[in-house]
C-alpha cells in the first residue's frame, strides 16, 4: 500500500513537506519539480508533513511498527 500519498494536482510545490520530515522520507524531485515520497519504508507516520501542508494534499497511512516481542 502507498504509505505517503501526495496529490500532485492539488500540490502548490512549496517544498514544506520536504523540510517537515524528520527522517528524510520526502525528497524534492528536481527534474519534475515535485515532492516525492522517496523512502516511504522509513515513514513513522508522525503526520508532520500532512499537518504542515498548506493545501492539505498529503495523506499518510499509518503502518504497523516492526515490534520485537520483549518477552
Amino acid at each position: 500500500m502507498e504509505r505517503v500519498k501526495i496529490d500532485l494536482d492539488a500540490c502548490n510545490k512549496c517544498k514544506i513537506c520536504v523540510d517537515a520530515c524528520f527522517v528524510d522520507v520526502i525528497r524534492w524531485d528536481e527534474k519534475q519539480g515535485v515532492p516525492v515520497a522517496a523512502y516511504p519504508e522509513d515513514c513513522v507516520w508522525c503526520y508532520a508533513c500532512e499537518i504542515a501542508c498548506p493545501v492539505q494534499c498529503i495523506e499518510v497511512v499509518p503502518g504497523t511498527p516492526r515490534f520485537v516481542e520483549p518477552y
Binding site: 527522517v23 499537518i51 520485537v68 520483549p70 518477552y71
Partner: protein, 566 residues
C-alpha cells in the same frame, strides 16, 4: 599529498554545533549572546526547525514554582530515582534554574502558556500515576518551539546547514577540532574545522519506537570513537508501557489488567511512583510468562488525565494530537477502547560524560541535551529523559544548551585555529564512504534488527544476569563482525549505515556497563545480584575506547561532598 580542499567541501567556524534540535538551537543563541564575534555554525542531518524530538512530544517541562522546594526535589530524586549516583550539585543548579530558563525561552519568542499576570501558567503533572502527588510543577512549551529559536539564532548571525550527517570527529593531538560528514542528498563529503565542537545530536533509541526514530546515537558513537569518556551507560534501558494498536504509550499505568481482568498495576507498584518503574515491566513479563497474558490498558477505567493539559493554550500541540486521534479513528481502534499493551524499548541512552559546563573529557568537545543527560550524572541510576519524572528532557536540553553554548563560545574566543591532518581526513573519508562501494552484503536494516533483537528484550536489557548479558553481547558482536559488509546505494542509505553502526556501539556499551555493575540499582536489575550494594557500588561506570576495544572501569561517587547520603 592531496590538499584537504580536494577531498571535499571545507568549512571553518569558531563554534560548530552538531544537531539543531532544541539543545543545539539554544546553545547557538547562547554562544552568540556570550560573544557576538564568535562564528557559530549549526549543522543538522534533517531540516532545522522541524528536526529532532521537541516537535514530536508532550510539550511540557518541569519547573519549580513559589513554595516548591529545590532541596525537596533533589532529595526525592536522589533517594527514589537516581539512588545516590546523581551529581547532586548539578541536579540542584538545574532545577533551581528551570523556571528562569522557560521564561528565557518565552522571551526568545517560544509559545509558553502564561497567566494574566505574565507568570508561567503551571500545573502539577496529571499523568502516569494519579495516586502520586507531585510536589513540583510543569510548564508548557508548544511544539513549534524550534521556529522562534531558529529565527532568533539566524537574526544574531548563526549560520545553518541542513541535510549534513556528521559521522566522525576530527582530532589534533588530543583536542577535537571539528567533524567530517556528508550531504544526504548529493553525497558530498564535508570537512568542518572548528575551534569548539558541541554535540547536540540526540540519544540512542534503537529505532524501536516510531516517534523516537531520529535518536540513533550518532554523537555518542562519534564521541566514543574519538576517545571521550562514557558514564553510566548501563541505565540506558527505558522500557515504556506500549499500546500495540498505535505504538503509543499508555499514559496511566495504574489501569493495566491481565487476561483474568485483575488490575496488575497495583500488584507490582503498591506504592505510587512518579513514573513507570522497572518493577511494573518485570511484573508484566511475569504475568505473561505465567499464562495470565495478554495485558490490557483500559482507558475507560481512568479519568481523562489529559484534560488539564488540553486546557493549556498550545495550538500546535492540539493540532498534532487532534490529527493523531483522527487518524486512529480512521485507520484503527477508537482511542478509548480497551487495548492490548506490551512493553517497548525507548532506551534513551545519553551517556557522554560531561562536567558542569557540559565539557566532555576531550578538549574542544562539549555534549548537551539528549547526548549527555546520563553522562552528566544529573539523573543518577536511571535513563534520561524522562528520568522517572517526565518533562525533564526539554528542560535539561534547554539548560544544558545554555551552559554548553556559553562555555564553548568562551573557549573559542581564546583558542588557536585548528590544524587538520589531510591524511586523517582521507582515512575518515574512506571509512565513511566504504558502504557506497558495495552492491551487496549486509544491510543497515539487518544490522538494526540484529541489535534490537537483543536490546528490546527484557531478558537481556532489563532482567539481567551475567549469563544473559554475555549471551546478548556475543549476539551484538556477531552483528558487529558484519559491519565491514554494510552496503548503500545512495546518501539516504549511507546515512542509515552509519546510524546502524552507532546503534550497535550503543548496545554494546550498555551491556558491557551492565555486566560490570554487580548489583541492582535504579533501572539496572541483575537477577544474580538483586540487591543494592552501597558498600561496593556507590560508583559510576566509565567506558573508554582503548586500541579498538571497549574498556569499562569504575569511579567512586564523591558522596562525601553531597547533601543526601544513603
Amino acid at each position: 599529498m592531496a590538499k584537504i580542499e580536494d577531498l571535499g567541501e571545507v568549512i571553518s567556524t569558531d563554534v560548530l554545533i552538531v544537531g539543531g534540535g532544541i539543545s543545539g538551537l539554544v546553545a547557538a543563541v547562547k554562544a552568540k549572546e556570550e560573544s557576538s564575534k564568535v562564528e557559530v555554525l549549526l549543522v543538522d542531518k534533517q531540516t532545522i526547525g522541524w528536526s529532532g524530538k521537541a516537535p514530536k512530544g508532550g510539550g511540557f517541562t518541569l519547573v519549580l514554582t513559589e513554595g516548591e522546594d529545590a532541596d525537596d526535589f533533589v532529595e526525592y530524586h536522589v533517594r527514589n530515582i537516581g539512588y545516590y549516583l546523581n551529581d547532586q550539585e548539578l541536579l540542584y543548579s538545574w532545577v533551581t534554574q528551570m523556571y528562569a530558563a522557560v521564561e528565557q525561552l518565552s522571551a526568545w519568542g517560544v509559545r509558553v502558556p502564561k497567566n494574566a499576570d505574565g507568570k508561567l501558567n503551571t500545573m502539577k503533572c496529571p499523568l502516569f500515576d494519579p495516586r502520586f502527588k507531585y510536589k513540583w510543577s510543569i510548564a508548557g512549551i508548544d511544539l513549534d518551539v524550534l521556529f522562534p529559536l531558529r529565527a532568533r539564532a539566524r537574526k544574531t548571525g548563526v549560520k545553518t546547514l541542513n541535510k549534513i550527517q556528521v559521522v566522525e570527529l576530527l582530532k589534533q593531538d588530543d583536542r577535537i577540532v571539528g567533524t567530517v560528514g556528508f550531504n544526504l542528498i548529493d553525497g558530498r563529503f564535508y570537512i568542518i574545522k572548528a575551534k569548539a565542537t558541541i554535540l547536540a545530536n540526540g540519544s540512542c533509541n534503537y529505532k524501536a519506537k516510531r516517534m523516537w526514530h531520529s535518536g540513533c546515537g550518532d554523537g555518542i558513537g562519534a564521541a566514543y570513537r574519538a576517545g571521550a569518556e562514557i558514564r553510566n551507560a548501563e541505565f540506558g534501558n527505558f522500557f515504556d508501557v506500549h499500546r500495540k494498536d498505535n505504538d503509543g504509550p499508555a499514559f496511566d499505568y495504574t489501569a493495566l489488567y491481565n487476561a483474568l481482568g485483575e488490575n496488575i498495576s497495583l500488584r507490582y507498584i503498591p506504592v505510587p511512583r512518579s513514573d513507570i518503574p522497572s518493577e511494573l515491566v518485570l511484573g508484566m513479563e511475569k504475568e505473561v510468562k505465567e499464562g495470565r497474558g495478554p495485558i490490557y490498558f483500559d482507558p475507560s477505567a481512568v479519568p481523562d488525565l489529559f484534560k488539564p493539559l488540553s486546557d493549556w493554550p498550545r495550538p500546535n500541540f492540539h493540532n498534532f494530537f487532534g490529527r493523531t486521534i483522527s487518524k486512529e479513528l480512521k485507520y484503527g481502534a477508537p482511542p478509548s477502547a480497551r487495548v492490548e499493551v506490551s512493553v517497548a524499548l525507548n532506551a534513551e541512552l545519553s551517556p557522554i560524560r560531561v562536567d558542569h559546563e557540559m565539557k566532555t573529557s576531550l578538549a574542544g568537545l562539549w555534549a548537551i541535551g539528549d547526548t549527555s543527560q546520563m553522562g552528566s550524572a544529573i539523573v543518577g541510576a536511571v535513563y534520561s529523559p524522562p528520568a522517572m519524572i517526565r518533562g525533564i528532557g526539554l528542560g535539561l536540553a534547554t539548560r544544558s544548551g545554555m551552559w554548553g553554548g556559553s562555555s564553548a563560545a568562551r573557549f573559542a574566543s581564546q583558542a588557536s585555529a585548528p590544524k587538520v591532518s589531510e591524511g586523517e581526513v582521507k582515512r575518515l573519508k574512506e571509512v565513511i564512504f566504504a558502504p557506497m562501494g558495495r552492491t551487496k552484503g549486509f544491510s543497515a536494516e539487518e544490522t538494526i534488527y540484529g541489535i534490537q533483537d537483543v536490546m528490546c528484550r527484557v531478558q537481556y536489557n532489563l532482567r539481567r544476569s551475567k549469563e544473559r548479558l554475555e549471551e546478548g553481547l556475543s549476539k551484538i558482536e556477531k552483528v558487529q563482525q558484519r559491519l565491514p559488509e554494510l552496503w548503500a546505494k545512495d546518501g539516504h542509505g549511507l546515512g542509515k549505515c552509519h546510524e546502524a553502526r552507532n546503534i550497535a556501539v550503543c548496545g554494546e556499551m550498555t551491556l558491557r556497563a551492565a555486566l560490570t555493575r554487580t548489583e541492582s540499582r535504579g533501572t539496572h536489575f541483575r537477577e544474580d545480584y538483586p540487591n543494592r550494594d552501597d558498600k561496593n557500588w556507590l560508583k559510576w561506570t566509565i567506558i573508554r575506547e582503548k586500541s579498538g576495544k571497549m574498556v569499562v572501569s569504575t569511579e567512586p561517587v564523591p558522596i562525601e561532598k553531597y547533601k543526601f547520603k544513603p
